[in-house]
Symmetry: C2
Subunit: 245 residues, 2 copies
Amino acid sequence: MVVRLEVSYDGTDFKGYQIQTSDPTVQGLIENAISKVYNQTIKTFTSGRTDTGVHAIMQVISFKTDKNIPEDGLKKALNSLLPPQIRVNKVKYENKSFHARFSAKSREYMYVIYNNDDVCPPFFYRYVWHVRGKIKIRKLKKTLKYLKGEHDFSSFSERTEKDNHVRKIISIKVKKKGKFIYIFIKGNAFLRRMVRVIIGTCVGIAKSNDFQPEFIKDILKAKNRGKNPFPTAPPNGLYLYKIEF
Amino acid sequence: MVVRLEVSYDGTDFKGYQIQTSDPTVQGLIENAISKVYNQTIKTFTSGRTDTGVHAIMQVISFKTDKNIPEDGLKKALNSLLPPQIRVNKVKYENKSFHARFSAKSREYMYVIYNNDDVCPPFFYRYVWHVRGKIKIRKLKKTLKYLKGEHDFSSFSERTEKDNHVRKIISIKVKKKGKFIYIFIKGNAFLRRMVRVIIGTCVGIAKSNDFQPEFIKDILKAKNRGKNPFPTAPPNGLYLYKIEF
């Protein structure tokens, strides 16, 4: 059998998702909890890795097992073993071909910006990017739109590997609510730090008087992060939001 | 001159408000920042001490100085020296009789409960008390009401000192919004842990089938924490909310 876990977490206190030797990671803590419940070492797969400080509203994890523990009991057991920063929201048995990474058809991320010239309330700083200076929403939307579709996203990645950098962005939505701006980006898959570089770049253009939205086409064409003059947005505002299979 | 600071903070990462020798405290960090700006050691006074994990929407701090730094410049300087968990929202010059503690006429606290039998989302756990089992709102309100007015609150305090335990509760409000319950308690002053013991006791009664709201009158009369069978509510849900002068 394959077990599918739907998990959410506050990434602030962890060294990212992927397991490491020393620092606490989301994967490390989840595999520890699963291995305790099943009384054997169990390896997991995931739909999307997240960096240090990045959160998940919906992360999907899968693993194989022979033992048939009832779904609700497994959920309760795992939550009792996990810290409150990580919660298992749903446990579901899938057929044996299911794989959290390879069966995933799309990943959607949400990025939250707090756009205000005054202070950022202390209860928000873990969960938003505090941006001073007015972000022009129409310009932000127009800039983001040029990234829709299939492109080589080398200019929007901190990855140094030489493999294929072509990814497909399926949809981009922008919502403003008071001082908060929510950006939803859905794609087939993403390069390392890709969402954060996209946000940093598009917010930089939308705030600037010197750059037009069309400048993003030049950045795309350059296929080189070094030719993109904008910073990577911080991890605090980023959430893995939805996985479709 | 006396400077008045209005400050908010997320108490999760600090060992309470009051300065200590080793662990980081809100007061320690604020006095450090002030002393750096003025280039001399400055002692501060505060309207209400908070325990480890307790937050503040509005905390008021006062200190004396001879130097006349413009309000906005002082606010920016302090915020640049403080961690993002502590924010100075307002700086105001007061006349020299102003004292954050002795001039305060009332303190209001807010307590936030997340009442849900399923998991508590990881983004909430620092900021709420997660209570399973339905809290009856009418019963909660009725129980709390008996505490209004002037009473000896010895049964609702973890303080062991022998001094006067009489305090006056000015108002109590309860609001329910979805799975959240907000309780506002305003008093002239509070004993150590008093709000948390009040919340723990009243929620205990409101959830129980064995105790009626009137049981709180017996607890009050006992003037002894040991005669109050209910636990102290955790610090996460507690916020210093408003100070009136």
